[in-house]
């Protein structure tokens, strides 16, 4: 982190906790790596077309179970679609939605935070109030209205998540911006004739990057769960496209008779979110920015 300017800050009283968490979370990193890989290259490595029905082989079990074959490694669902291919396709959906929503919301949040935090005054008060109100509005309810008005699609899912998530960035980053703006070195740069743009680009933005990174990682888990919930409800990614959420919805009646239909997407969803959360927690403890909770 060569761009980081050392800040004069009293060490927080969290050293005790940090030492316990300093181990690198290899498991989470590996799982997130796998998730990113499947999210980018899923379509290339999928053995079948994820939306191709094959009613002759519906509800085929995974290859190691009795009656399973290596044609469908993880079995098929009630329409004979290959579970593995659908999992990979679902990973692409989750990855696209999570990364898209988190990046766009992060950019908006950072912009608002810089504007509000650096300018201060009335604009700051107004933007803070807007962010507070937007944050108070529940995501799922927002999704219900937006979907009712504009129909369902991946784009709508991303839009809903961006609307739900940006205030979090804005709020946390705003207080960071204010803190950094008042640091001596930023004040000095102004004294020496640096303009606002210089202060923002050279000093403030590089210093909020750690906070941004932690927030983004923690939001990935949230975004994946939210996309899953919407798709599970049938108001997210529309069928027949595969998403882990609608795979679970398809498989909800097969927990006893064909466990592989719901269990694989359930595990994929849980492990991905768990890894994102563990990674975010570790990053937070390592980088120790302003985020808490």
């Amino acid at each position: 982190m060569s761009t980081m300017t050392p800040t004069r800050r009293a060490p927080r009283r969290r050293g005790l906790k940090r030492s316990r968490h300093s181990r690198k979370p290899w498991f989470s990193m590996a799982a997130m790596g796998l998730f990113a890989f499947c999210g980018i290259f899923g379509a290339l490595i999928a053995p079948h077309d994820p939306t191709q029905n094959d009613l002759a082989h519906s509800l085929a079990p995974p290859f190691w179970a009795e009656g399973g074959s290596t044609t469908y490694l993880l079995g098929t669902d009630q329409l004979g679609r290959d579970i593995l291919s659908r999992l990979l396709s679902g990973a692409q959906v989750s990855f696209l939605v999570a990364v898209g929503a988190v990046l766009i919301a992060g950019a908006i949040g950072l912009g608002v935070a810089l504007l509000a935090g650096y300018t201060g005054g009335r604009l700051d008060a107004f933007l803070t109030r807007v962010a507070d109100s937007a944050m108070a509005f529940p995501v799922l309810l927002l999704a219900v209205i937006v979907v009712a008005l504009y129909g369902k699609s991946i784009t709508i899912v991303i839009v809903v998540l961006v609307l739900a998530v940006w205030p979090q960035y804005a709020r946390v980053l705003r207080s960071e911006v204010i803190r950094i703006r008042n640091e001596d070195y930023v004040v000095m740069s102004k004294v020496m004739g640096g303009n606002a743009r210089w202060a923002i680009v050279r000093h403030i933005v590089p210093n909020v990057v750690p906070t941004l990174l932690v927030l983004a990682t923690l939001q990935i888990g949230f975004a994946i769960i939210a996309e899953g919930s919407l798709s599970f409800l049938g108001i997210g990614v529309p069928a027949p496209a595969a998403s882990w959420g609608n795979m679970l919805a398809d498989g909800r009646n097969f927990m006893q008779t064909a466990w592989w239909v719901p269990v694989f997407p359930g595990i994929a969803l849980s492990i991905t979110v768990l890894s994102a959360n563990l990674l975010g927690d570790w990053l937070r403890q390592t980088l120790d920015p302003a985020t808490r909770r």
């Binding site: 529940p138 769960i225 959360n277």
Partner: protein, 327 residues
């Protein structure tokens, strides 16, 4: 305190008015409102009839004014799919939703605080590790997947609880647990870290060295840790109310969440609009209650000097706690 409560109440009303206005104009802006509010299979003549009947041929501001007047008197319009007034559907639905959300909330709050405090007082013991593991898992497993697992184990295999509906008294157990898991985990984590921080304060050390009874110490520490937890609990209660959408549809619980999905599938916009408005009302009422509670718990919040200026609203901010002031 009265002035503080009054301000908060007014802010709540403004927020509600804002949401109502946005929903109203969004519906009007997204094309022909008649198509949204009429049954999907209506003929052009029927559409015209609906337009005149609902007054959609009048200027938009007149419609808006009428709509606001209707809301004040409790008139939310007519559901096009059920062909009854929206309020007849939303009110009983909201009761079922509130029952589920409140049971889940109590469960999450009591168990979350207990588990978090236990973990903090026994930090770095197996109890602590266990609580932390469960908390991380609870925050990571999606509620609907947890619900499916619970149904498979506790209703299909063991037959202890019903898998859906609200026919018996025990029907609420599985949906409430699935719904509560995330909030429980969050509350447990925050309680743990707040109590840990409190335990490391000089004032706790002072109490210890003074020989205060352990039980009293626990009470003091918990009371001083209550502010962030109350804030989070308020946020989580709101989240539980909207989180019921997923759980209600999984467990066929007859609340507004199930109604909302039916309304979307039936393209019944009047019903959706009603659900959103009633939900927002409940949500804002909850925020208001949390704000008032906050004012009661922390005198600094309600002091005019603290509420003036550009301070952040206390409802959504974890306030720094100055312990020397409260003990």
């Amino acid at each position: 305190m009265l002035r503080y409560t009054g301000t908060r109440f007014l802010q709540g009303l403004i927020a509600l008015f804002f949401i109502v206005t946005v929903v109203f104009f969004l519906a009007r802006m997204s094309g022909d409102a008649t198509a949204l509010l009429a049954p999907p299979d209506a003929t052009p003549e029927q559409l015209d009839a609906v337009r005149v009947e609902l007054g959609l041929d009048r200027p938009i501001l007149v419609q808006y004014w009428d709509y606001l007047q209707g809301l004040v008197t409790g008139d939310l319009g007519r559901s096009t799919s059920y062909r009854v007034p929206v309020s007849d559907l939303v009110v009983p639905g909201m009761q079922a939703t509130a029952k589920l959300a409140l049971v889940a909330f109590l469960f999450a709050l009591v168990l979350g605080v207990a588990a978090g405090a236990l973990a903090a007082f026994r930090s770095n013991t197996p109890t602590d590790y266990g609580v932390r593991l469960m908390a991380v898992l609870g925050q990571s497993i999606p509620s609907f997947w947890l619900g499916m697992i619970l149904v498979a184990v506790f209703s299909v295999s063991l037959g202890w609880f019903p898998a859906f509906g609200d026919a018996t008294a025990t029907s609420i157990v599985l949906p409430a647990i699935s719904l509560a898991a995330f909030a429980l985990a969050s509350i447990a984590r925050l309680t743990r870290s707040t109590v840990l921080e409190m335990l490391s304060k000089d004032q706790t050390l002072f109490e210890r060295s003074k020989g205060v009874a352990p039980a009293t110490l626990v009470v003091h520490v918990l009371r001083n840790s209550s502010l962030p937890v109350v804030t989070l609990a308020g946020i989580q209660l709101g989240a539980l109310f909207s989180g019921t959408i997923v759980i209600e549809n999984l467990f066929a619980w007859p609340g507004v969440g199930q109604l909302a999905i039916q309304a979307i599938n039936a393209k019944d916009f009047a019903l959706i609009q009603g659900i959103v408005i009633v939900n927002t009302l409940v949500f804002i009422a909850l925020l208001f209650i949390v704000d008032v509670l906050y004012g009661l718990l922390d005198p600094r919040v309600r002091r005019p000097a603290a509420s003036r200026g550009k301070k952040k609203r206390p409802t959504t901010t974890v306030q720094p706690i100055d312990v020397m002031e409260t003990v």
